[in-house]
Every structure is written in structure tokens, then in C-alpha cells.
Symmetry: C2
Subunit: 344 residues, 2 copies
């Protein structure tokens, strides 16, 4: 793990070194706004209230008895790769490891909403976490609270999860219950759920209206828009940036993922982007909400410095751009991935 | 620990988060050229041969029975902070954590050399480690082998160490015996010592004549000179780079160290280097070969972006420069340390 801060705890997954596609929880990146909350699982209830016919208190027992599903999901922090923005932006300087993947088991949120009965005019569902603290910019204590539009809340794969990789969710990742929102950046997947509220308007909490917003301009809030689905993206795992290699055969490998549809193509360039080759994508990965692994054998006879780049395309024809969309808070970096190597 | 590579294992100490001045071995940075060697401590002998009157085989028992000393030493990889060079250079992209500090106990090398008797005309002492492997640039297997000039070899604080922080040296850090060369960059402190040889000429192995050489020019080897003593240097531990802070009082803290004499002054600037303040240095640290801790209370009322810089001076009047000495292999980075923070 690569530590970015300890209070609150923010650590990256060493993605470059990981071979497995179900990341064990001790290697799962940790991204927190606040200190870890204290809560008692022994007496744990989730209230579902607001614009519903029957406000309901769900016990853990209630949730465990409902039909469950297990989904494999990439969770990527909206700030993943933030340190790559030029000009640089403030905030946690994530490298390429604020991303992870694993199997989450839980109950579709939809089932809980149907039990309580959503009233007409309901627009969003708000999730409050147990974690709280002060912000630097506002003089008040806030819990980490976010909302989903009603359509995403009703999506059958938006789940209230209680297991990660076939074990109870580790405390640091949201025990006992965590919202899992596939395809969205991971700020949407609220940990340590305290309550769920259906509302008739747009939720305006600071983690929705101030943070997790793309601000394309440094000085003004013009053209701001919310951070939602993950951009199409890829990361080169091997070789490492600035590696020194000998001449001969080398395996270039990595991962690619998207928040819309599936990955349809990964291309690699070893000549500064002049030519691109389609590379081998592990098709078995391309189901559910997983990343795909890809690899390419590179035979290099000539000594010199080489820029290796990877570019993914998804089934909505979204392609990684050469230049990222710069935004003041540094979200959603997805430019073509690149590393430099020296062959000697 | 921050992983830079796994084969061989290269990991950084999370220096920014460390409060103690004796770094526990599991947090000690790891820098290897090769895979870990296999060797048997049960049947471990060190030959001391070459230009000596009595070539001698020392057993562990022999070494443990000689008078010992314990010294507190900063060990810094010559490539520490390499990733900060502009233009970027190839090799392990170390951040600011390829540095550590602890208590090493062992026998002065001098005692062994005196027992064997150095012949007239001896110029250097060569240390061969058990670790070996192929280089990318030469078509042969090499052990990691380095030499010291005879004067440094005879320095009473150059020791053959067998304990780290009052425990046997952990295997990854050179068990059972490791050379410790205070004040030099840590490539000199050869791990897993296999043999010691006194020679009458200059040693020319690749880890001395190709690597660990400052090459100030990109294309030629002109003005090359060997990497030896550590440059005067400092690192800001807190705040973290690109942190977002509120207005008010903040502690700026860090460490400073040098390979010549002691640290005499640490200055901090919070206004882009226009003005500098002498900061509080923990004088208790300034003995042996330790780093010093320093801190400064910063009261900031005005919102904005701030560049925080630290600059150390040693007792030989060496001062951290504003611009590092760029060199092709990226050694000895010691420019004034700097971070950016945003106050909101």
C-alpha cells in the first residue's frame, strides 16, 4: 500500500504489482474524508424514510433474509491519477492506485425501496454515512452524505452490500453495510450506512455540490457538472515508468475499465503515439463491472528511450483522450496512460 | 512502505509519517539490485584477504568477541528523491523516502584490518556481497561489490555490523553481517558480506565505475565523478504536498541531514522563497550521524496558495541549492525541499 495520508487514512492499492482480479481487502485502497467512525454492529438498524409510504427500520437480520446477489465491481476513486494533472491541482496526490476490484454481495437497494414504497414525485435517494468531521471551507461538522437519482437507485445492480470477497465487509471498507454503485466513481458507494432518505428535490450537501464536481476553470465555477460515471481508462502495470530494460522481448501488460458498457479495444503504442497496435484483451474479464487485463509482447532490438502508451475504447465508443479534461479539483483523469523506458 | 518494484524488492520508508528516530526494520526502505541471496548463517565465515600480511577467515564467533560499538546512522540511497529531477532520469523513481535511520552495532572494520595487517601500498578495501545477478548493459553476472578508500575503511566508525536496533540485522537488510559506512550514500554499506579484499589499485566494478557516478551530461561521460558522501539535505514531513488547510495555526515539520559535519541551521520559507526564517532544530538529535528534527509554527490568516520550502546548512557551510545538480543517473538530489498547500 502507498500511504497518502494517515489522518484520515488514505492509501493506494499497489495496482502495478497485482495479478489477481479479486483484490484482497488488505490491499484495497483506502479513501476517507474523516477518521473512522465508531458504530455498534450489535444494535445496527437502517432507517429508510422520507418520501415513502411506509418509513421502515431494517435490521441486519431483515437485510440478510432478502434475496441477495454478488457482483464483481471496479471501484475507482474520482481522484485516481490526480497527481498526473498539469497544471497540478490540490488534494490527495493519488497516483494510479486509487482503484480496486472485488466481489460484493448484498441486497438490491430496489428491494428495500419497494418494501417501503416510493411516493410519486420522488427524485433522489440520499445515503448518510456514520463518518463525519469538519471541512476546511465550511464552519460546521458534516457526515459524509451523497445522493443518487432515482433511476440509478432502482438499478438492479445498485446494492446494499454486506460481504466483500465472501467475507463480512472489513470495517475500513464500510462494515456492516455499504452502498455499492457499479459504474460510478466510488464516492457514490457510501460506507457505514446510517440512514437512507427518499427526497423530492436535488440533494445539496457539500460532498455533492462543492466536492465531486468538475470545475473546468481555475477561478470560476462556470460549466461545473457533477462527477458520476467512470471515464474509459487504462493503466500500464508493466514495465514500470522509467524502467531500464535490455534489448529483446518484453511483456507489456495492464488493465482497462469503463463506467459505460464494456471495453471493446485496447491499443498500445511504443513509438510516441505514431502507430498503435490492438493488443490481446482477456475476454473472460469482460463481464459484470470488472476491469479487463490486456497484454502485448514487445520485441525491441534498438537501444534508446521509448514512450509506451495504452489507449482503451468502450462499447459507447468513448476513447481515452491524449489530453485529460483539466478540472480544478482533479477528478476523472483518464488521458492515454504512458510510461517511459530506456533500452540499453 | 511504498513499493517501487518487487523483483528485486525496492520499497520506500514512509518518512513523511514517521515520528520516531529509530526506524523499525519493517519500515526501513529496501533497495536491492538483485533478488535476495541465499546464504547459510550456520556456516558463515568472512575471508579477509588480498594485500594483507595474514589472510584471515573470521567466523561469526570471532567477530562477536571483538570490542563493539553502536552508532546511530542515517542511511540514504543515492537515488533518494530521484523522481524530482527535471528533466526526468531513468531508474527507480524514488520519492523522498529512500532514507532511514537506526542504531547499528558491530566491530570497527579497522580492528579486522589490524588483525590481518595491511601491507604497504594498500589503496582500497573491496567488499563483495552475496547478492548477484545480470545487468541490462553488460552480458555477465556480477555480485554487488564496492570499495572504500583506505582512509575511510580505517575510520573508527566504519563498522561490520551485526545488530540493528538491538536485534540481529533482519535478513533483508544484510544479515548476518553488513558494512556500515556513516556519512556516505548507502550503496557503500554493502549487505550480506561475502568477502573483504585489500587491493593496491582502484577498484573498477560496474557498481563503482558505471553506476554510482555523477554524470552531469546527458550524452557524454565528461566531468564524471564518483558518488560518495551525502549532500546536505532536508525533507518537509508536514504538511503534505498539495494539502488543503484552513486558516489559522499549522505546524510545519521535517528532518535535515548531511554527510559532512552536522546540521547548523534549517530555514523555512512560506512566501515562495522571498523571506526565510530560522526554525527550531531539536539539538538533541545533532550527534553521531543522525538526522535532526525541526519544526516551525506557521500562522496564516490569508487564503491562497503557498509554496513552503525548507533549506538546511551544515557545519561545512554547505547549503541546499535552489536547483539540484542534474546528473544522468539521478544521484544526490538535494535541492531545497518544497511543497505547495492551499489555504481556504
Amino acid at each position: 500500500m502507498i500511504t497518502r495520508s494517515l489522518q484520515p487514512e488514505n492509501q493506494e492499492t499497489p495496482t502495478q504489482f497485482i495479478e489477481t482480479d479479486l483484490i484482497p481487502s488488505h490491499l484495497f485502497y483506502r479513501r476517507n474524508h474523516f477518521s473512522y467512525p465508531t458504530l455498534s454492529a450489535a444494535n445496527y438498524w437502517i432507517p429508510l424514510n422520507g418520501s415513502v409510504n411506509t418509513p421502515t427500520l431494517f435490521s441486519m437480520q431483515d437485510i440478510l433474509q432478502l434475496p441477495s446477489k454478488t457482483i464483481n465491481v471496479v471501484l475507482e476513486c474520482a481522484g485516481n491519477k490526480r497527481s498526473l494533472f498539469e497544471p497540478k491541482v490540490f488534494g490527495e496526490q493519488w497516483g494510479k492506485g486509487a482503484i480496486s476490484q472485488g466481489a460484493w454481495k448484498g441486497v438490491p437497494l430496489r428491494a428495500l425501496l419497494e418494501l417501503a414504497g416510493i411516493k410519486d414525485g420522488a427524485k433522489e435517494v440520499v445515503f448518510e454515512g456514520y463518518d463525519f468531521g469538519k471541512r476546511t471551507d465550511l464552519d460546521r461538522v458534516y457526515t459524509f452524505t451523497r445522493s443518487l437519482p432515482i433511476a440509478k437507485a432502482l438499478h438492479p445492480d445498485t446494492i446494499i452490500a454486506y460481504e466483500y470477497n465472501h467475507q463480512p465487509i472489513p470495517f475500513k471498507h464500510g462494515f456492516p453495510l455499504r452502498l455499492i454503485v457499479p459504474q460510478w466513481y466510488a464516492m457514490a458507494s457510501v460506507k457505514w450506512i446510517k440512514q437512507i432518505t427518499v427526497i423530492n428535490q436535488s440533494f445539496k450537501g457539500p460532498y455533492q455540490s462543492i466536492d465531486y464536481v468538475y470545475y473546468p476553470h481555475k477561478e470560476t465555477n462556470e460549466d461545473a457538472r457533477p462527477v458520476t460515471t467512470m471515464n474509459v481508462n487504462s493503466t500500464i502495470q508493466k514495465p514500470l515508468d522509467r524502467d531500464i530494460l535490455d534489448t529483446g522481448k518484453h511483456l507489456i501488460k495492464g488493465i482497462a475499465w469503463t463506467g459505460k458498457g464494456t471495453i471493446t479495444k485496447v491499443e498500445v503504442s511504443t513509438d510516441n503515439g505514431q502507430t498503435w497496435s490492438n493488443v490481446k484483451v482477456n475476454k473472460g474479464d469482460n463481464k459484470g463491472y470488472k476491469w479487463v487485463s490486456w497484454s502485448h509482447v514487445w520485441v525491441i532490438a534498438e537501444k534508446g528511450e521509448y514512450r509506451i502508451m495504452s489507449k482503451a475504447t468502450d462499447s459507447f465508443n468513448r476513447v481515452q483522450p491524449l489530453t485529460p479534461l483539466w478540472n480544478r479539483k482533479g477528478y476523472g483523469y483518464n488521458a492515454v496512460d504512458e510510461i517511459m523506458v530506456k533500452v540499453e
